[in-house]
Amino acid sequence: MGIADAVKPVKEVVLTELATAFLDNFHVVSWGTPGAEAADKIEVTLQIKNPLEDDLVCVERLRLTCSAGGTMSLVAAGNGVVLDGDGTDDMIIETDAVTGSFDLEVSNVAATTITVVAGVTQGSGVCACDLTVDLVFA
């Protein structure tokens, strides 16, 4: 170890310096690009990432809520599991154990923007949920 390792100035540790086993304890919700509207439905994938924005393969339990008028479900044969609230605007889900993703399908009949928000709930890990997704229905 060089002297530089021993005298690392304070406030300089950055995310890339964290070991993977450390970093991967902190989950971040991200959203893919929404698909095109078809039959009053829009699909969008939620993916768990680590703070470096690498995809994480992990089961994360989350609560999803969306704007009034919208309802949510798992895409047919999609990744993830709905634990509660299927077909409503307030759903408890788990991401897929193999991909760390959840394929969400939102239904809405009006011409409006439906915002989907994720949050931690019972059984969640340490997860940042500050990214939302807006789905524009025409």
Partner: protein, 267 residues
Amino acid sequence: MSIVVQNTLATWLDVPGVGLVFPPLGSLTVDGITPELAAAIQAGKVTVTSQSDSNKIIAASNGQTVFALPFPWPGPDHAHLVVAGLVRTYGVDFTVDAETNELTWINGGVTILENDILTFLKTGSYPENLLGNQVVGGGIADGALTFAKLNAALLAKFVVVSFETPDVEAGNEIAVQMRLKDLAGDYLAAEHVVRVTCDDRATMTVGVSGSALAGDGTSDLIAKTSALGKLDLTVAFVGAATISLAVGATQLSPMLDCAVGADLVFA
């Protein structure tokens, strides 16, 4: 410390282990004496011809901001500045003009006073003209910072829920203890508030360790762990089913990883 060391031999001299190769009767400048170099001095192969403390600057006046460096600037990865006991950050507290070899103090919030000492920590005992090539600095390597390098106070900020092995069912009740751990997997002795929920056909009560804040005897409990980080739960259910317990953060909770729950099998 800058030390000039001269080869006393009329032949090339390689001091093993420290990367010092002296030309015949030639001199090299080093920052310190390593055991290998000391052995060469004791053997009479090399001799110290001069030494000076080139690693310090004493401020000449209050508010001085420009300082001539007493050594060629090797770059911020190879020399760190300490002022008043703190390692200062290149680009934030100070900069160096490599062409003029002058240091400029740029931290307006800290005034250098007369007789303040600016101390430089430099890499090991390598010839200064080889410093840049010999040593790779840069602090913590990518991916190297593990839980083990966090101090206990920081580690304890990341609280992880775990469950011990449940007791066997007795009288339609199963007791199980929730324990708090830190990220490194060590038990954490701390009082923290959590919310515990289960199948609403079952009820939970808090035992000896921990305390119920709300919902004792229901399927939705707000509780606080004991000072040892323990929460004794007794789950009551009549019938044959698996009752799952889930923990979550609530008002007053710390940063909490609740991914692990408990499944209690009632027969």
